[in-house]
Amino acid sequence: MHGLINRSFESFLKITYGTSLWNDVADGAGVSRQGFEALQIYDDQVSEAVLGQAMQVLGRPRGALLEDLGIYLVSHPTTESLRRLLRFGGATFAEFLQSLDELPDRARLAVPELDLPHLDLRDNAPGSFILTSRWTFPGAGHVMVGALRTMADDYGALVLLDHVGSDGQTETISIDLLDHDFSKGRDFHLAAEL
């Protein structure tokens, strides 16, 4: 697993639950309390150990914890750059959804060795989509649900999202776009400093 992903999970735990919880998780998972280096590649088992330990210490199921991670990733000020990069995907939430299949390629443009979930969006009916997520790490669909819910708020769109099931490494999410202009949403300017 790429260090950027491991470090995101680490900062999510530290910022949401505090450094002492992170220390407990790190000790239990056998990783350094110093945490992960963003530009290193780690064995998938290390990520699995940290997640398992966090679930145990927090007493939270895998799906719920990963969904919170997804929310954190696109809403917290420390990960503002990620929200901005996602907003480049489209001017509206519908366009953004259509850009999701480019996500792994976009990620690789920035960091060539970063492997992100392969996403495939299909129209079910007008305003109704099925998103499938394929990744080596089970639970990526839950991260997507949290991230998409927050991105919908960001665009000011009203959506219903559901993790409808997983089949090995493939997970399915249903997305119902009820109102693409429900609220004002958050500002997005192409220029980063504005």
């Binding site: 963003a38 530009l39 480049f88 976009r106 443009l109 192409l190 220029a191 400093e193």
Partner: protein, 347 residues
């Protein structure tokens, strides 16, 4: 409707495909400008204006009139607004065969980053085929990745500093450092081992540094270290204690003659000119010596203080010489070469 190469196309269709286009009449007046261009000049100014009064050609620079501009048909051109902000554009120009009007399509080119800072532009302001938004994405993604890379470098630098602090080796000369010296002295004293102790300061080192720079200074320090290695046995511990100060520890050597002979050889060799590029560095060495008997009860700082006193006596005696520490007073044991024997320091 305007005919472009036999394909009839409306202004609205052009606005969709090329939101930064300009249609210009045969007389050089702007007939229509695409929505993104209009956004750059919210107070208007396009319709009816002369193209060349609004824009200045940057390439080819010689173009001053609309007829000269017509000669650029089919070519790539560069231009910029005449009124600030003087945003730059690149684009291409084609002529309509039907009525002699011109169609100019523009893009920000490399001015893109300035343009998005200057104007309130959104993804929808760029043509669907335009890579500008992808380029902005890439610029931002690369900056984020560079930030991470910088953070990693900072971590590595801090780790390197920490490792150096814990190391026993002086990275410039390869000799042991002050930390190592403390350990070795403590160990010998704890073992009750006899040893000879020598402190060597390079003379005129500061002049080399000042005259020829730090690179020359570093070179001299490395040469001095090589000389010490060449003139001592492998069981001698050679320490760069800091700057141009060296400490040498000779296990089981308590003979004054032996240590003096080594000191003389060291000073003589240090005084040989050291070439550095086209320049020549001339240094010497001042040495203080003491010996530590078996089962000595003194502590390391006392011993270092003693050789330091002996060294100071050598310096007072005119440098380039060695002095033994004695309880009473330090006396230069080896007079500076070519000088009168140093007077005994006054008591």
């Amino acid at each position: 409707m305007s005919g472009v190469g036999g394909f009839s196309i409306s202004n609205e269709a052009l606005d969709c495909l090329m939101p930064m286009h300009v249609r210009v009449s045969p007389t050089g007046h702007i007939l229509h400008a695409g929505p993104t261009l209009r956004k750059l000049r919210p107070d208007g100014g396009f319709a009816g204006a002369r193209l060349l009064e609004m824009f200045q050609l940057r390439n080819p620079r010689s173009v001053q009139s609309i007829s000269e501009l017509r000669g650029c048909a089919g070519r790539r051109i560069k231009l910029q607004f005449r009124v600030p902000p003087k945003t730059g554009f690149k684009g291409a120009l084609v002529l309509s065969e039907a009525d002699g009007s011109l169609l100019l399509n523009l893009s920000f080119g490399i001015s893109l980053v300035d343009a998005i800072r200057e104007y309130d532009l959104h993804a929808a302001d760029f043509a669907a085929t335009d890579m500008s938004v992808e380029l902005l994405y890439l610029i931002e993604a690369k900056s984020a990745a560079m930030d991470e890379s910088r953070k990693l470098n900072r971590h590595l630098q801090a780790a390197k500093v920490a490792a150096e602090e814990q190391a026993f080796t002086d990275t410039l000369t390869g000799l042991k450092n002050r930390r190592a010296m403390a350990h070795i002295l403590e160990r010998y004293l704890a073992q009750g081992r006899a040893f000879g102790l020598m402190q060597l300061d390079l003379d005129f080192f500061k002049e080399v540094n000042d005259r020829l720079g730090h690179a020359a200074g570093d070179h001299v320090l490395q040469k001095a270290a090589e000389i010490m290695v060449a003139h001592t046995r492998t069981d001698t511990t050679l320490i760069r204690a800091g700057g141009d100060e060296f400490v040498l520890i000779f296990p089981d050597v308590t003979s004054a003659e032996t240590l003096l002979a080594i000191a003389e050889r060291l000073i003589a060799t240090l005084e040989e000119p050291i070439p550095f590029g086209a320049a020549t560095c001339k240094i010497s060495g001042s040495i203080g010596i003491s010996t530590v008997p078996e089962n000595c009860r003194a502590d390391a700082s006392q011993l270092l203080d003693q050789v330091d006193q002996a060294l100071y006596a050598s310096k007072r005696a005119g440098r380039g010489c060695a002095t033994f520490y004695t309880d009473a007073l330090p006396i230069p044991a080896m007079p500076p070469a070519g000088r009168d024997p140093a007077p005994r320091p006054g008591v």
